[in-house]
């Protein structure tokens, strides 16, 4: 039995209601947008890359609680990380959502564990990471 209230962990709802690093980032050096044509959700991730480190990050867009919370946590984790570390985080998060593997060093992102049971909603949590990877590849 799946419980949608396990999916909507209080931390996810909190990030949806009060997201971190939401808004424009005029100094951005890297940016990309990802969308889900099935639901119309769209998210843009922007980074300021300086001396091989992500000095600042922000997201903008519209979407469900899962995509907004994932974007908020992603932006928070990105600041101070290297692009390589963020790519590793994205790969770990993707593995975590799609297989029964431990959260490793996902930190707050581990609250997305409930998404595993909702196959059609995994794409929501992954959307900001898709945008982030595309931004870093620029």
């Amino acid at each position: 039995m799946t419980d949608a209230r396990a999916l909507y962990h209080a931390t996810i709802v909190e990030h949806d209601r009060h997201p971190h690093h939401e808004g424009p980032l005029p100094a951005a050096t890297h940016a990309a947008t990802a969308d889900n044509p099935l639901c119309g959700d769209v998210v843009t991730l922007r980074f300021v890359l300086a001396d091989g480190v992500i000095a600042d990050a922000a997201f903008e867009g519209r979407g469900c609680a899962l995509s907004r919370a994932a974007a908020s946590m992603l932006a928070t984790r990105a600041i101070g990380a290297t692009p390589e570390q963020l790519r590793e985080l994205a790969a770990t998060f993707d593995r975590f959502l799609h297989a029964d593997v431990p959260a490793e060093d996902l930190g707050e992102l581990a609250v997305f564990e409930g998404v595993r049971a909702f196959k059609s909603r995994r794409a929501c949590a992954c959307l900001p990471f898709t945008a982030a990877l595309a931004a870093l590849d620029q």
Binding site: M1, T2, D3, A4, R5, L7, Y8, V13, D16, R17, L38, C39, G40, D41, R62, G63, C64, A65, L66, F118, R121, C124
Partner: protein, 396 residues
């Protein structure tokens, strides 16, 4: 219709006994696909044991051919048309693409105009975008007002060759003024195509009274199987249309470098017919005939759904007259609504419902939608209302 009739109908639909996440199923997504009653399921299983229709002459093939030709007469009776005006397709989408391609290639030229409304399902928009682009014709959009009613006075019918509208909107649940549209279209020599996907399960249909030239619908919105639909076309109009798709069953003569074709409806039914789907459609038509007029029950359920959405503080898109209620809840995304409702056993739809331009017109990217069928009862509505209350607990 009494409560006992409704209870009896519910027993006809085995899917209603499904437990969802351990909960009773409240199926409020009939506008996407209606559930199927046992007689339809039985007819599908029986037809699966038949041979190739309209080809071979042995017994199993003859039976299959009879299934199709009897179904054609049933559809004609259901719509008020003639059997030779009934074309079997893969669904409303297939029907509308057929008109756009077969009629459009023969009749649309640069300078002509096609009119659709702002509330159309993508299936009644993109076929016209495509053929208008190919033929250099203009595609005009008739706007809708806040209620979801098409504003006929805000679109020019000048140079129009065809008008295509939904009989009932799959988002606003509003009923288009088809007879008036037919008059306006015919006054300038244009044809009227009606997308009846959301209407056939909820309104009596009479193509003669409506005055339209084409009427399209899908079996799966009418308690039948997916992959099966109908295009009714006025015989005099069908006679002016070349084939769209070519293949078996629609030819008169085939030589190595040229072919000639049969008349309607065979001309538009290339390939081995979908006997399983058509048998299911015929059984669905028999079922709706047998249960009779369910409009009072559906109207009661629909009004209760509207009230439940309002009580939860939802904003309804348009002023729905029947069948569907699309809404957004303040600060809760439609997909979160759908997932949390599912956890409570409530099946509803979220997204743009294949009507992105209409959502843009209402200033939203996605909405949630509940819809009624002949089996929707007060318990379904109560379960939906309780799910909306739970949503507020998760998203205070």
């Amino acid at each position: 219709m009494s409560v006992s009739d409704l209870a009896a109908r519910r027993r006809d639909f085995p899917a209603l006994a499904t437990r969802v996440h351990g909960k009773r199923l409240a199926y409020l997504d009939s506008a996407a696909t209606a559930l199927r009653p046992q007689p339809v399921i039985d007819a599908i299983v029986r037809a699966a044991q038949l041979g190739a229709p309209s080809r071979s002459v042995h017994a199993l093939a003859e039976q299959a051919t009879s299934v199709i030709e009897d179904a054609r007469s049933d559809v004609a009776a259901f719509l008020g048309g003639r059997a030779d005006e009934v074309i079997f397709t893969s669904g409303t989408t297939g029907s509308l693409n057929l008109v756009a391609q077969a009629w459009g290639r023969a009749h649309l030229a640069a300078g002509d105009a096609v009119i659709v409304s702002e509330l159309e399902h993508h299936s009644n928009l993109m076929p016209w975008q495509m053929i208008c682009g190919e033929r250099g014709a203009e595609l005009r959009i008739a706007p809708v007002d806040d209620a979801g009613r098409i504003q006929l006075d805000r679109v020019s019918f000048e140079r129009a060759k065809l008008v295509a509208v939904a009989h009932v909107s799959n988002v606003t649940g509003t009923v288009a003024p088809i007879a008036e549209l037919a008059q306006r279209a015919h006054a300038v020599g244009a044809l009227l195509v009606v997308d009846g996907a959301q209407a056939v399960a909820h309104l009596p249909i009479d193509v003669a009274a409506l005055g339209c030239d084409f009427y399209a619908f899908s079996a799966h919105k009418l308690y039948g199987p997916t992959g099966t639909g109908v295009l009714w076309g006025r015989a005099s109009v069908l006679a002016t249309m070349p084939p769209w798709q070519t293949g078996g069953g629609m030819i008169r003569t085939v030589e190595a470098t040229r072919s000639t074709f049969r008349g309607a409806p065979a001309r538009f039914e290339a390939g081995t017919p979908n006997v399983i789907g058509i048998a299911g459609l015929a059984a669905a038509l028999a079922y709706v005939r047998a249960i009779g007029d369910v409009r009072a029950d559906e109207a009661r359920a629909h009004a209760a759904l509207v009230a439940a959405v309002r009580a939860a503080g939802g904003r309804i898109l348009g002023e729905p007259e029947l069948a569907v209620v699309a809404f957004e809840l303040p600060r809760i995304h439609a997909h979160d609504v759908a997932t949390l409702a599912d956890a409570e056993g409530v099946a509803l739809r979220s997204g743009h419902h294949c009507a992105a331009p209409l959502h843009a017109r209402f200033g939203v990217t996605a909405s949630s939608r509940v819809s009624v069928g002949c089996y929707t009862d007060a318990d379904d509505v109560a379960q939906f209302a309780a799910a909306l209350a739970k949503l507020r607990e998760v998203f205070p």
